[in-house]
């Protein structure tokens, strides 16, 4: 729908003001779409009225498009253009309209925008604009554009002031201990949150606009000297490739910059926690922030990163170690438990201790479904309940999940359709999947559980190990922005494992991950282990 290169004769339409046809105004939906190239070819004319007519033709009857005409010092005609909901009104009145109207210029002096910006207007100036495209762009971005009669340039003034929520605790990444603020939909606020955590000029923010139609602000951010320049270059290269009409959520970007688009495994870290982004930047990663969504992207995202939660570092290391181990265990459970249950009960009955086996058999007697079908049915039922719980209004959702799980589970067992053990297995699997800190990784595991169950049903534990190996080979072949997906796990570097299977004390994790910060790996001064004064471990001069 958007074509490159303007159409001839378009200018005439803008000249004529609002598009008309015989018998009145044309329906707005039938107006031709305005194109960048067309607008860029329309410079700001010295004739203010002509400019305003053209802009009216562009914005038409949009109720929030405001044109405020006034005279500078009562003499020179000027107009301020802005979108009602996007600018801060007091700022506009106090710092732009008032000074301009009250200004008494020397008779005969030319009121160039440069002059006005320097001496009259007390508002931060964004930049000078010279064509209608720039005017539109800034107006849509929440600026006030000042046009002065007789000048070929206008001024774009930053006065953004739209409704936004204040930073709240992120819903998806709640912590017991840790900062309680998350990114919000406003890019400026999000960037501030990040700036506050990394107060260094080396925090680089590079701006980018994505989306032909939507024109969404995107910021690439990294720490100079830590992030590998090749990595930054690669990120920019991939973002530059994106040419779509709209980028409404960061997943639009994520899907377009992934290394392996069809792999179920996440390759980009998604987070709404500024502290987490800051921690990743300190590792030498690159973050991509975007307006209109609180979710920031961080690359590269290797497997281990999805098993780390920011909270791991906010609690005592012993808890960190324990939680990590628990998490890996829960990860294995959520991927494997149903399939192992199916494999063991239908292929390897010798593995079950005799009395437990008799229990299982007693419970299974009379259950009409084969174990694998039973497992599949229950897993699907669980997924339905879970999905329903997410989609339904919050208050109802909880009730539905609990009632659904309880009632369906209990009724199914009483009716003898499923065995009680299967209900335990499915519930445990479902709960365990919530221990995976990354929602994206949890999704991958949830989906992979089903083929695993089928493999288990056809080849037993051999099938299960086949599935595990296939996943492993798949993972070993993945890369995220040049970093091998299994970096940190294999090849084996004891240095890196300190923060993988467990979370060792801070003072032991002296180096940054080897695949990320290639050069600058020292994270902290050596020998930071605290020693009580006069204690046994006290060292001399160092």
């Amino acid at each position: 729908m958007v074509r490159r290169g303007g159409r001839p004769g378009r200018q005439a339409e803008y000249e004529a003001g609002l598009p008309t046809q015989a018998g009145g105004l044309l329906e707005p939906s039938r107006w031709p779409a305005y194109e960048k190239d067309d607008l860029e070819r329309l410079p700001i004319e010295p004739d203010l009225e002509k400019n305003l007519r053209r802009l009216e033709a562009i914005f038409g009857h949009d109720p929030d498009f405001a044109t405020r005409r006034f005279r500078i010092g009562g003499r020179v005609a000027a107009a301020a253009l802005f979108l009602e909901g996007m600018v801060e009104r007091p700022l506009l009145t106090e710092n732009l309209l008032k000074p301009l109207v009250q200004y008494r210029p020397e008779p005969g002096a030319r009121l160039t925008p440069a002059f006005l910006a320097e001496s009259v207007i007390t508002m931060p100036v964004q930049r000078k604009v010279a064509d209608l495209h720039a005017v539109c762009d800034h107006v849509l971005d929440g600026c006030v554009v000042l046009l002065v009669d007789g000048e070929r340039e206008g001024l774009a003034l930053k006065a953004v002031g739209y409704e936004k929520r204040s930073p709240e605790e992120p819903m998806t990444e709640a912590v017991v201990r840790g900062p309680r603020e998350g990114f919000i939909e406003s890019l400026a606020t999000s960037v501030t949150l990040l700036r506050r955590r990394l107060k260094t000029p080396n925090l680089v923010l590079e701006n980018l606009v994505l989306g032909r139609v939507a024109h969404t602000q995107v910021v690439i951010t990294y720490l100079r000297g830590l992030a590998a320049p090749e990595l930054v270059g690669e990120v920019k290269k991939r973002l530059a490739r994106i040419d779509v009409d709209g980028v409404l959520e960061s997943n639009y970007i994520e899907e377009l910059i992934r290394d392996h688009p069809l792999s179920p495994f996440p390759q980009v870290i998604v987070t709404e926690r500024p502290d987490r982004v800051a921690a990743h930047l300190l590792d030498g990663r690159v973050a991509i922030l975007m307006e209109n969504t609180p979710f920031a992207l961080v690359v590269p995202g290797e497997f281990v990163a999805y098993m780390q939660s920011p909270e791991d570092y906010y609690h005592h290391t012993v808890l960190g170690i324990f939680i990590r181990l628990l998490r890996w265990g829960a990860f294995a459970i959520s991927l494997l438990l149903p399939s192992i249950y199916v494999a063991v009960t239908t292929f390897h009955q010798e593995m079950i201790p005799t009395r437990l086996l008799l229990n299982i058999v007693g419970a299974r007697e009379g259950v009409p479904l084969p174990a694998v079908v039973e497992a599949l049915v229950m897993e699907v039922a669980f997924e339905i309940l879970r999905e329903a719980g997410v989609r339904l209004p919050r208050a109802v959702g909880q009730a539905v999940s609990i009632v659904g799980a309880l009632v369906i589970g209990e009724a199914a067992v009483t009716a003898g359709v499923v065995s009680p053990l299967m209900v335990i297995i499915v519930a445990l699997t479902g709960i365990a999947s919530f221990l995976t800190p990354s929602f994206d990784l949890a999704i991958a595991i949830r989906i992979l559980r089903f083929p695993m169950m089928l493999l288990a049903a056809s080849l037993g534990l051999f099938g299960v190990v086949t599935g595990i190996l296939a996943i492993l080979i798949h993972l070993a072949g993945l890369r995220s922005f040049g970093v091998p997906y299994l970096a940190g796990l294999t090849p084996f570097h004891p240095q890196d494992w300190k923060d993988v299977i467990v979370r060792l004390p801070m003072w032991m994790m002296r180096r940054r991950p080897r695949e990320l910060a290639k050069e600058n790996r020292e994270r902290m001064a050596p020998d930071l282990k605290p020693h009580p004064p006069g204690g046994r471990g006290r060292r001399g001069a160092d």
Binding site: L358, I360, A363, G366, A371
Partner: protein
């Protein structure tokens, strides 16, 4: 590139489906199997083999499922187990014959007990043992071998509320063997290993169904009666090669186990030194270690069985002053003598039977490999006249919660 992606993604899916459609060759639902928990083997007429297997009734012994339907009546449905018997020309033949009656496919991997009838054992176990060691399902080291005195079918049908299944009950009794060490359960793997060694012979545990003294005929109007019989493990069966040649009684069995270092605990009764006749003490053995040391003394082979043991005093009759160290030493010596007596009795009995279950020959082989090559042909004869010395060192460590026994004042 596009084509490759399609192949890459489709191929696993297609293969997975193909596997499912064609697959599941070895899939057996858990409730479709009959878990054999005990196997009894007997000789049937015409040189055939009779196999009795015990299958659990999971509705009764297993939990779960809708409860309450089973009433504790003596109906077949509420019996916790069911024994099937089959006969055939070989062991495997007999087992498969059972499947003509059984609704469940027999599954042996959970089997922990093999019971062999005395008659079968006396005729030789070659074919039975080959099947047992060749089968994938049978776990040789988890399966205990027993010889039954009496009818094997009877052993597998002894009701009891504790461990209602006789098979599991045997297993549980074996678990507590350290209470007396008066029976000698032996894993199939060990039995087979001793069978293949030149200088050692295998032994097996002995199992019996004995009348239950607490059973009273005619009882049972109000309450369920006590079961009329109990399963009892006692003694050991001696083999020469694959043939049963004799039995050890309970004391002799323990004598054997002392030497083989298989005593995990025991109660040993010994006469009290310096006491009146008939006054006895009882020691609770907690640790025991035994070893066999062969020597050649003046051209004669002499075996020395050394036993080291320690335990507590569980019971003392009479009025010994246990606070005096020299009294404790006397007790140690008396305990050692009692143990020595058990070992010597066992040696004598095995020499009579000609079954070297102690593994004297193997011990000699290990220490004197060259000489062994010369004498191994004559070993059976040498074994019968072997000189065996027994040295026991027993230590009583503790005396329980009291020291001196309480003097009983007879009015």
């Amino acid at each position: 590139m596009n084509g490759r992606i399609k192949v890459k993604t489709l191929l696993p899916a297609v293969l997975l489906l193909a596997l499912l459609v064609a697959g599941c060759w070895d899939l057996r639902e858990v409730e479709d199997l009959g878990y054999v928990l005990a196997t009894a083997i007997d000789r049937a007429p015409g040189n055939r083999v009779k196999v009795i297997v015990q299958l659990p009734n999971p509705r009764v012994v297993g939990g779960g499922g809708p409860r309450g339907a089973v009433t504790p009546s003596a109906s077949v449905a509420s019996k916790p187990y069911r024994n099937y018997a089959g006969t055939g020309a070989t062991m495997f033949d007999a087992i498969r014959a059972i499947s003509q009656e059984s609704a469940r496919r027999l599954f042996f991997a959970q089997n922990r007990t093999v019971i062999i009838s005395e008659r079968m054992a006396r005729e030789g176990l070659r074919e039975v043992l080959d099947f047992l060691s060749r089968s994938v399902e049978i776990r040789r080291h988890l399966t205990m071998v027993f010889v039954v005195r009496g009818d094997p079918a009877q052993i597998l049908d002894v009701p009891n509320p504790h461990s209602p299944m006789p098979a599991l009950r045997i297993d549980d009794i074996v678990k507590w063997r350290g209470q007396t060490s008066r029976f000698a359960p032996v894993p199939l793997s060990r039995f087979l290993e001793f069978l293949s060694l030149e200088g050692a012979e295998p032994y097996a545990g002995v199992i019996e169904a004995v009348p239950n003294p607490t059973y009273r005929a005619g009882q049972g109007e109000r309450d369920a009666p006590e079961p009329p019989r109990s399963i009892r493990l006692r003694g050991a069966a001696l083999f020469r090669g694959d043939r049963l040649v004799g039995f050890l009684n309970e004391a002799e069995t323990r004598g054997l186990l002392w030497a083989l270092s298989e005593v995990r605990g025991a109660q040993v009764v010994f006469p009290l030194p310096g006491g009146r006749p008939g006054e006895q003490g009882t020691a609770e053995i907690q640790r025991a270690r035994g070893k066999i040391e062969p020597e050649v003394i003046r051209g004669r082979i002499v075996m020395t069985i050394k036993v080291f043991t320690e335990g507590n005093l569980a019971e003392v009759e009479g009025t010994l002053d246990l606070s005096r160290p020299e009294v404790m030493e006397q007790l140690d010596r008396a305990l050692a003598a009692a143990i020595r007596g058990e070992v010597l009795a066992a040696v004598e009995k095995t020499q009579e039977a000609g079954a070297d279950v102690f593994g004297f020959g193997e011990a000699f082989h290990r220490k004197f490999p060259r000489e062994w090559k010369r004498i191994k042909k004559n070993w059976p004869e040498l074994f019968r006249d072997l000189e065996v010395r027994v040295e026991v060192k027993a230590t009583i460590r503790r005396t329980g919660m009291i020291g001196k026994p309480r003097p009983i004042l007879v009015p």
